[in-house]
Symmetry: C2
Subunit: 402 residues, 2 copies
């Protein structure tokens, strides 16, 4: 006798949304259609050809010539873990910069790999301090790895990856860089920085479906991984095994690749190549400026100082007296707009407005400001409706003159 | 100066294929369309409602009432690793049954978790021997876990999961069961077996896109995980953390869920519920019988004895004198049909014809036999063209009479 099914009567239809949170971002019809192309085998010669193109496209997005550049079959957290389980041996000292949630997750990763984390804390919302990193290396010149988050998704802060990588190089340490939210939104220059292992996510400024983590390793990182005497603690994320599937010559079965998600990533990277990286960065900057102009007239302030502010992730203080959850619920239910809540210590204190990838469009900036004005007014917040939208339009007009 | 992109001129278009290998299987238009529905946030109340339905649908497919039943955001190898990293502590003895590639992967998992694997080997192509498992427990009554593969994808052998689970229970050990290829193709009766942790894959008999691993844990397994004194070595796969997102009450951010793949899984499980599990098993059996009848007249023989033979994965000996690679290449390029190669020790010696999920259709059986006849004849193999197809039709006719 089988267990009777609890009947689910209907197919699932997601409601219409503008995704202006910390990711996933809006996905274009073009990318969604690529996702729905018929599945084929992951060792099919046609698929293998697509994989090579994917690696080429990813190299452009990361600005690297690294041969080993491919998408991990899992979300950004799997990409992060792939770096740590392969590059950190038991007992290794790892300097970890923690200025938000994801730096904290790096500390967890180091400890679970049996490494010793030397934690450098910076205030949430600030960039990582290069001076503190330098000091940490002076105190721990035997540190094997420096790990930091380029763009902290939890706070909207951008750190100076180039400087941080150079410090690590001076001390002969490898670098692990989280570029989940930065890739394609602001410059990520892997070769120029000399970063050794860099991972990202598909669902942020690439505007592909969530579930893939583009990653790149340079020769120095690969040499370190190959020189390991301990087996990698993860089978699924063992780089030495994955080289057999994503490496240069062979195509040996390791795990079943997520075929359709890879189609979508290919298409989203093609979109990026066609737009051009510099144009993509400029677009993210432009829409950020317009949003910022609108928020200013609403007297809403940024968490992060101008210099370290991410254009694609606008972390803002919730105005005093305004109900966090009520505003986000009204934005979602009345206006179909998702904005992000604060994480960890910033929960209830900030909102995170993402303008990432395909979400970074004029119509989204206008819709977001218009809705936010209306919802805030309904909450009794003092502001004059329409002024924020007008300020955004004015910003666009000024930008056009430059 | 940016690195110049190496231009990829075209969007990727996969060629038409029938997927009759060991997975992924063919995916219906219905499921592909679900995959392409607009992405929404993974904490959106609408999405959270869909997650609950997904858990309900998965419980039916696994025949379990286990509350903790959800899809892991990664392929079957991630599901496997989730079981081991959470349930195996350093120093734990784990009895692992190895009768193919995936049993070997389980041994790797145990060792990478710091456990001690007690390996029971059976000949590839045979079921796991319950007697050997019983003997192993007699010798190692302190073993904490028994791990085995229900349906060995590398050999096409089905083991007696019910009996194996009962032996483990007698010795107070937990069970980890690989049901990647079995789920929805043959009975997987988690509660009746009393299996403690069972994982599967989305791309086999569920005919969803690859990249998800449905998993279920009973209360005994959860209690063991909660009682751990060592932190799980994986952050990404830490069940105690994932409970916060997929558990009963809370929806705390852990990682970004692969939204669109989950839409597709929801739809493929809805298809399964509408067909009914027993009907799905019967369909897999019926198409297997027809394929078998056709292969018999081609004088092609099965690797696995009739009693332990998986209907959804037909492992057959490559006839003497026939070129493995040439035949598979011709099947793919001339007929658009993917069949699977042998893995490991069976590479070059067997083919694996999968009739899984949506691939298990009359038209695929006929197309496969017709193409195989033609390709074998072109290779100089002695057989009379058309007879295999005729035998398959005759099998269907006989089945209709029963």
């Amino acid at each position: 006798m089988l267990l009777t099914p609890e009947i689910i009567p209907n197919a699932y239809t997601p409601p219409p949304r503008r995704l202006l949170g910390p990711g996933p971002s809006d996905i274009s019809t073009r990318v969604l259609q690529a996702l729905a192309k018929p599945t084929i085998g992951y060792l099919d010669p046609s698929f293998v050809g697509m994989m090579e193109e994917l690696k080429t496209l990813l190299r452009y997005s990361f600005q690297t010539k690294n041969a080993l550049t491919f998408p991990v079959s899992g979300p950004g957290s799997a990409g992060m873990e792939m770096c740590f389980v392969n590059m950190v041996n038991h007992g290794d000292k790892v300097i970890v910069c923690r200025n938000g949630v994801f730096g904290g997750r790096m500390v967890e990763n180091v400890e679970r790999c049996g490494g010793k984390a030397i934690v450098i804390d910076d205030v949430w919302g600030q960039a990582v301090s290069p001076q503190k990193v330098e000091d940490a290396f002076k105190q721990h010149p035997d540190a094997k790895v420096l790990a930091f988050v380029h763009a902290e998704t939890s706070t909207g802060a951008l750190s100076d990856a180039h400087t941080l990588c150079k410090i690590a190089q001076q001390y002969g340490a490898l670098t692990i860089v989280d570029a989940v939210t930065s890739l394609a939104g602001v410059p990520v220059l892997v070769d120029e920085w000399g970063a050794d292992a860099v991972y990202s996510g598909s669902q942020k400024c690439l505007s592909c479906t969530p579930g893939l983590s583009p990653i790149t390793f340079n020769e120095r990182a690969i040499a370190a991984v190959k020189a390991r005497t301990q087996k990698c603690q993860s089978w699924f994320l063992d780089l030495n095994l994955l080289l057999g599937y994503w490496g240069e010559t062979t195509r040996t079965y390791h795990h079943t690749a997520p075929t359709n998600s890879l189609y979508a990533l290919h298409e989203s990277l093609l979109v990026l190549q066609q737009e051009g990286l510099e144009q993509s960065w400029a677009r993210h900057r432009s829409n950020h400026e317009a949003l910022k102009a609108g928020l200013a007239v609403l007297d809403i302030h940024y968490v992060v100082d101008e210099l370290a502010r991410l254009p694609q992730l606008n972390a803002i203080h919730i105005p005093t007296g305004v109900d966090d959850k009520a505003v986000r619920a009204a934005m979602l239910q009345q206006h179909g707009i998702e904005i992000g809540a604060g994480l960890g210590a910033l929960a209830g204190k900030i909102w995170r407005i993402g303008l990432m990838g395909y979400s970074s469009r004029v119509e989204n900036v206008i819709a977001c400001l218009g809705a936010l004005e209306a919802v805030l007014v309904s909450q009794g917040y003092q502001c004059q409706q329409g002024r924020a939208v007008a300020a955004a339009y004015q910003s666009y007009a000024q930008q056009a003159l430059v």
